[in-house]
């Protein structure tokens, strides 16, 4: 055995397996709650809780699914295939809502519709309109989440439309179809896999969302998990709820996985060299510009402006030592998390490179499953074994109080499980770009193993790793449920602060930490835009 390890044959497995356990253990812990249901809890849940949760979740998934598809596909088609005033700007600007976490967009909308909010006041005083439609409603949540999540569909649908090129539409035209009919008969059916991929991602985010629904007091599984744990102090009930939610998530994740595996016809046609666009004129152009501007305004410009405006108002009073502490906690957590997750992603990617094969693929697949797991589920799934471990330690070593529970370590482990896929994507792509020939060249020059990683691969991966770390940094910064549920007592971050201020209806004071999150959040969006642009031009 030592010989095997030394020769490096087992090393990739020894590295990859624990990473996969990081995700597998919480999932199994949560699923085991489904296998051993506590009759009493289950009865209560089934009678009083689950019906509402199921109905609410179903509506939310259907509504947001429809909303993001409508917004995402229409805007993707306009910016990818048509020409109208402002198209170049909207093509990238419509991605900007990705910078705003949905819970931030949510509280801005709540604030706007608030009786004392600017919109309500303006309508009341200027136009005598007393009654606004209730924003704290199913329709309100669906609208706000659609506005926050449509970029997922926009991004994938746009890539699909661009990848088709114009050639197939020209073929349809030469066979007698008008451009409008060619869209329905050719472009849309062909973009279906891309649209579905974005849609499933958006649905995963919808199922995972905690911040938005709790701001709206709209009960879903994630809010119920939180309440069971922190209001009723029943971790078993939280685990039961998590096990139901994870079932839904797996259905969606499985669909997404199959879709990714079967997406075979996107690449079979080369893109046209000359992207001639459909020139919209008159009413068509006015409608296209108006629609793009409306969505951009509601999803980004208006919330962003409102946050900055509110933040400026409370800056003098709220920008104090406590605020700096929130910022420092956020920075520390996101920084540590980004380095840790980036490192694990590199180890996993490298293990895959050294030991390619089905078993390693499955291991990597399990390890990166976290992107589908709601933070609330992961928090429960990690906290339970940590609590058990704590109890063991306390009993065996007769220690006082918690050892692991309520430390940064628990949070970081949960972040690793949740965001490994975010880092793994770019790192894996970066590794794939390094040809085997490079490995062999380096080996023939006497540089192999760890030295090769250090001297050859790492320098070549620098940009990918930086990108991966930046994405993870921002995702951790925006993360709410894991942070909220597993943080050490009283250890608040900017996101937690936003949540608390929002819960109390203090929109202006929530805006100050939200502004920091939104501004830093713009960074990866700009990276994404540059990346997308680069791909469109090559």
């Amino acid at each position: 055995m030592p010989g095997l390890i030394a020769s490096g044959r087992l090393a990739p497995w020894l590295a990859a397996a624990p990473i996969a356990l990081l995700t597998a253990v919480p999932v199994l812990v949560v699923l085991s709650a489904l296998a051993h249901p506590d009759q009493e809890i289950w009865d209560h849940l089934w009678r009083f809780v689950l019906p509402e949760l199921l109905v609410n979740t179903l509506w939310l998934v259907l509504g947001v699914g429809l909303g993001v598809t409508l917004l995402g596909v229409s805007l993707a088609w306009l910016t990818a295939a048509c020409e109208y005033p402002g198209r170049r700007f909207f093509a990238w600007a419509l991605l900007l809502p990705l910078a705003l976490p949905a819970y931030v967009t949510a509280f801005v909308w709540l604030g706007l519709f608030d009786f004392t909010g600017p919109l309500a006041t303006w309508l009341r005083e200027g136009h005598g309109i007393m009654q606004l439609p209730p924003i704290r409603s199913r329709g309100g949540v669906i609208l706000v989440m659609s506005l926050a999540l449509y970029p997922y569909v926009y991004l994938t649908a746009r890539a699909a439309f661009q990848g088709q090129g114009r050639r197939l539409l020209e073929a349809a035209q030469s066979l007698g179809e008008s451009p409008w009919r060619a869209f329905w008969r050719v472009a849309l059916p062909m973009a279906r896999p891309g649209i579905a991929a974005g849609l499933l991602l958006a649905i995963m985010e919808t199922l995972a969302d905690f911040g938005t629904v709790s701001v709206f007091n709209y009960n879903t599984f994630t809010t119920a998990i939180y309440k069971a744990w922190f209001s009723l102090f029943s971790l078993p009930a939280a685990a039961q709820l998590a096990s139901v939610l994870i079932f839904f998530v797996f259905v969606v994740a499985l669909l997404e996985y199959q879709l990714r595996a079967s997406r075979n016809y996107a690449a079979s046609t080369r893109a046209a060299a000359t992207p001639t666009r459909i020139r919209l004129g008159g009413w068509g152009a006015a409608l296209a510009t108006g629609w793009s501007a409306l969505v951009f305004g509601l999803a980004f410009a208006l919330p962003m402006w409102q946050i900055l405006d509110w933040a400026a108002g409370v800056f003098a009073s709220d920008f104090d030592a406590r605020y700096l502490e929130f910022a420092w906690h956020t920075l520390l957590l996101a920084g540590l998390g980004a380095v840790l997750v980036g490192g694990l992603a590199l180890v996993l990617g490298y293990a895959q490179r050294l030991r390619p094969g089905a078993a390693m693929r499955v291991t990597a697949r399990v390890a990166t499953l976290g992107y589908a797991l709601p933070g609330a589920v992961l928090a429960v799934g990690i906290f339970i074994p940590v609590a058990w471990l704590d109890n063991q330690l306390i009993e065996r070593l007769s220690l006082d109080g918690q050892v692991l529970g309520g430390t940064l370590l628990v949070m970081l482990l949960a972040y690793c499980a949740r965001f490994l896929a975010v880092s793994h994507g770019p790192v894996d792509a970066g590794l794939a770009r390094i040809s085997r020939g490079i490995d062999e060249a380096s080996q023939s020059l006497g540089v192999a193993g760890a030295r090769r990683l250090w001297r050859v691969h790492l320098p070549m991966l620098r940009v990918s790793l930086l990108g991966a770390a930046a994405l993870t940094f921002v995702d951790i910064m925006k993360e709410l449920p894991i942070t909220l549920m597993t943080r050490p007592f009283g250890w608040d971050t900017l996101a937690v602060r936003v949540f608390e201020m929002t819960s109390e209806g203090e929109w202006e004071r929530a805006a100050l930490p939200a502004a920091a999150i939104a501004i830093v959040g713009l960074l990866p969006v700009f990276l994404l835009i540059r990346h997308a642009d680069h791909h469109a031009h090559t």
Binding site: R167, L168, E170, A171, A172, Q173, S174, L175, G176, E177, S178, R185, V186, P189, M190, R192, N264, Y265, A266, S268, T269, R270, T276
Partner: protein, 353 residues
Amino acid sequence: MLILENVAQSYGTKQVLKGVNLQLKAGQIGCLLGPSGCGKTTALRLIAGFERLREGTIFLDGETVAGAGAHLPPERRRVGLVFQDFALFPHLDVAANVGFGLRHLKGADLRQRVREMLDLVGLAGEAGAFPHQLSGGQQQRVALARALAPRPRLLLLDEPFSSLDVELREKLSLEVRDILNQEGITALLVTHDQHEAFAMADRVGIMNQGVIQQWDTPYNLYHQPANRFVADFVGQGVLLPGKVINSRQVEIELGVLEGRIPGECDAEGGCAKCDKGCMVDVLIRPDDILHDDASPLLATVERKAFRGAEFLYTLRLPQGGRVQVLVPSHHNHAIGEGIGIRLDVDHVVAFRR
């Protein structure tokens, strides 16, 4: 059938087409042949309607489809198109691809027409297959069937064989020609491959720098090229310096050639501007020279290329000129060896120096 009149097109300051004229009769297969960037694809896209015409007119069946302020959109031109990359709809099976343009047909009629087209291209067994399951040659034939199904007035083919293997190219180009002739289709193809052009087309236009240099039969293009570009672009050959003796004779290193002296020298019945003593370049094709061991005229083998049935020898003449000659491959001569040759020129092609 298809008429292009003074068609010119430019993008910014770059002039892509400068006054293109051509006429294609019903049932004819035409071809635009030229190096990449010569404007041939632009011409095709103008005829299909994907580009808006700036200058000139395009007539189809006597109807003005482009020009003089008119622009019939592509979907109403009834011009079929076979794309270079075939552009088959990946989400539709073969039958649905072929039936795509048959909007006016329903049910049994639709199936009937699709079946006819698949029989025509010999793919009746692949109706349910998806494009990515087909070979390149099969995709090509589906693309052809799809374009022909709605009975277009004109079929355009854009480098239709360029993405196929060389062996497949020749076979398919003959097959496609047979299908087009059998159906009486008027077609215009665009290519940079002269084998393809000559195998398919009744009339070929050699294009360069946005102008059709010569619109003629393949035979005439080879044997009576209108200018140096055509002479150089089509087939092999060399230009040897020569001196005009009179309107029927020109003297070159290999002897005196007799015949009408056409080309630039041939201005209105004779060599008006190129009289006796005028210096010209004479085109000598490999088939203008015969290997003859009995000939007193000796040339030295400088290079040789084995072509299977024959050798292409590059020979150096005593006074330094070079010619190429095709010789049956059992005449295997070493480099440096002197071999006897003699002239056998049918068409004298001479350009003024």
